[in-house]
Subunit: 233 residues, 2 copies
Amino acid sequence: MSERPKAVVLLSGGLDSTTTLAIAKAQEFDVHALTFAYGQRHQAELDAARRVAARLGTAQHIVAQIDLRLFGGSALTSDIELPKGRKPEDMAHGIPCYPLPARNTIFLSFALAWAEVLEADNIFIGVNAIDYSGYPDCRPEFIEAYQHMADLATRAGVEGRQRLMIHTPLIRLTKADIIRKGLELGVDYALTSSCYDPSPEGTACGRCDSCLIRLKGFSEVGLQDPISYRLEG
Amino acid sequence: MSERPKAVVLLSGGLDSTTTLAIAKAQEFDVHALTFAYGQRHQAELDAARRVAARLGTAQHIVAQIDLRLFGGSALTSDIELPKGRKPEDMAHGIPCYPLPARNTIFLSFALAWAEVLEADNIFIGVNAIDYSGYPDCRPEFIEAYQHMADLATRAGVEGRQRLMIHTPLIRLTKADIIRKGLELGVDYALTSSCYDPSPEGTACGRCDSCLIRLKGFSEVGLQDPISYRLEG
């Protein structure tokens, strides 16, 4: 049995969650990685999560199936056209492309359930309030409210045996800072997948919000992104 | 299109959630019922939810598949022995049989996602802090904390267009009061299923915590429970 404190780490296989996993490992947590298969249009994200978990090393990696398509209303799980070629300054306003309804609320709820079973006090989530593409559930005030709720939700919280800590190591970092931090920790970003609209082989589009924010981050660091992007006519 | 306000109603098919659905209908909400198939050991609960939704009438009834067995740790989704024959006063302490980790947190998170897609301001949940069998996420302070978190989680909440109201019409009622309220509204409790350990045909055991609380409620009202219980040797 490991003597290290246990942590549930939310892992999408993207740049942010991969860096978050590397940080949890560097902080000597016993990492239990949790990935969601939520009716995505593509498998690239799940493949990346499995590659990352295998390379960085976890005590356990679970892929939870949750089909949010049944509610409708999301570009990432339906056929709604994704915006392409937007400027970063336009992404943070109006939230015109909300990838999944109540996304982080649902993901954290599953993490909380697993943490309760594991008797883990720690959850890591790679939310970011700087380059956050306008999602309300990536802000510090949301995370604080979630943590307060979670302490009232569980047996261990109510009995005072457990005080949940939601770690958000990226929340105040720019994308460039995140990349620098990951590189310091030896992360190979070639393993990761950030694109909302990859090709069937997993090649990134280079034009969705997620690709544009990622490319801008690498550009600010002065490095080339190691993943490949497809050329569009 | 309905002009009535929309509400997402969590419906397990048990006595409490069925009464809650009847209350939401009586309050003239346009009801969107949400049931979870979470790897239960039995289908009786899902069958009851479908019967109740059909009889009481809903705008929509969705059964969401979420497999919480992957986390382990719950008597209702695994082979752990359920306590039988406990006295009601013993059930509220120590939470020895926690049916699902972070149960209401997860259920409310899916309800929130659907409410966001529907642009519904209302969620109904049949939690009860009196005969609550010791679950921390059935208490008013949990619901208040959840509602606060939810207002920070969604686009509509942050933009001030939506202010979520989580309705808990049963929270301060005894089981007997709940039954009286449901009977006033014409609920046929023969449709419902509360047992944690029904037979394959759906017959209640009569000895698990849930059956005992239910039977005590009917006894206090001075009525016989219309569902059948199996006789044990």
